[in-house]
């Protein structure tokens, strides 16, 4: 499942960018670190014989979603997080780092205790967009339709949320007049 050197370099970049996102004071830097993380994971998808998912990852995640994030950050002027309590005290960071490390160690210990059968990886399969689409429409038609409903609901929700204030103002204006 991939060359170890490539994997470890990518894993290192992914973990470093994740930590950068966690620690950045400026929300813009957090977003850019997250883009780097997403692109790294897209490269891992390529290593894992998932070229279509890699492209979707870059276009949807690193492209659309992160542009939305950056747009909202800049729209609200929230780069500096605009907060007086963002700066956690030192002991809180240390405690959090300790607890996070404990969590990771517990997970990894579990993993080391129960290793998978190494070298048992299945042969390469056809993961072209055509094969993926066939699987999607043969076995997952109903979830696919539900996804459509979900996206419609999300879109209506966003429009309603975005318009609420204007509607209130309109009603107020109507009452005044």
């Amino acid at each position: 499942m991939g060359n170890p050197i490539v994997f470890f370099i990518l894993a290192l970049i992914a973990i470093a960018s994740a930590l950068g996102m966690l620690a950045s004071r400026n929300a813009i830097y957090s977003a850019l670190f997250l883009v780097l993380n997403f692109v790294t994971i897209a490269v891992l998808y390529l290593v894992l014989n998932a070229p279509f998912m890699a492209v979707v990852q870059v276009t949807v995640y690193a492209g659309a979603i992160m542009v939305l994030f950056l747009f909202v950050i800049m729209l609200l002027g929230a780069e500096r997080s605009g907060s007086r309590t963002e700066g956690l005290r030192d002991w809180e960071w240390i405690l959090a780092g300790f607890l996070g490390a404990v969590l990771i160690i517990v997970f990894l210990t579990n993993l080391v205790m129960n290793p998978s059968a190494v070298g048992d990886t299945a042969p390469f399969i056809d993961t072209s967009p055509a094969a993926l689409g066939l699987r999607l429409f043969e076995a997952y038609v109903f979830p696919f339709e539900l996804t459509g409903v979900l996206l419609l609901a999300a879109m209506i929700g966003v429009v309603v949320l975005g318009r609420r204030k204007k509607m209130a103002q309109l009603e107020k204006g109507g009452n005044d007049a």
């Binding site: 499942m1 060359n3 170890p4 994997f7 894993a11 973990i15 994740a18 996102m21 966690l22 929300a27 997250l34 993380n37 994971i41 891992l44 894992l48 998932a50 998912m53 995640y61 979603i65 939305l68 994030f69 909202v72 950050i73 609200l76 929230a78 997080s81 907060s83 007086r84 309590t85 963002e86 956690l88 959090a96 996070g100 969590l103 990771i104 997970f107 993993l111 290793p115 998978s116 070298g119 990886t121 299945a122 390469f124 399969i125 993961t127 094969a131 993926l132 999607l136 076995a139 997952y140 979830p143 996804t147 979900l150 996206l151 999300a154 929700g157 966003v158 949320l161 975005g162 204030k165």
Partner: protein
């Protein structure tokens, strides 16, 4: 050094990224950064899905990743709209300031 990476390493990377994302959700006070951490947690789950898809030679993992990405996109759109609405009322996106249910 082995000439190939086993599934365990991918699961380990997924675990580490998930934990960092969870720490981001719990530690940061900026609502937008909290959202970004949630995205990273979803992404680490996706990585595990794709790795197992490769390991088992089954396309289902990638299809599921596809659904996760779709749901994440919808979630981000609604979440950011909520943040913008909250910012309009509260003039703040610090989650410590959003401590009442009153609009």
């Amino acid at each position: 050094m082995p000439d190939t990476v086993s599934i365990d390493w991918y699961v380990a990377l997924s675990i580490i990224l998930f934990t960092i994302g969870a720490m981001g959700v719990l530690l940061r006070r900026n609502a937008i950064v909290v959202f970004m951490s949630v995205e990273m947690m979803l992404n680490s789950a996706n990585l595990a899905f794709v790795a197992f898809s490769r390991y088992l030679g089954d396309l289902d993992g990638q299809v599921l990743t596809f659904f996760v990405i779709t749901v994440a996109a919808a979630e981000v759109a609604v979440g950011l709209a909520l943040i913008v609405t909250i910012f309009r009322t509260k003039q703040s996106i610090n989650i410590d300031d959003i401590n009442t249910m009153k609009g």
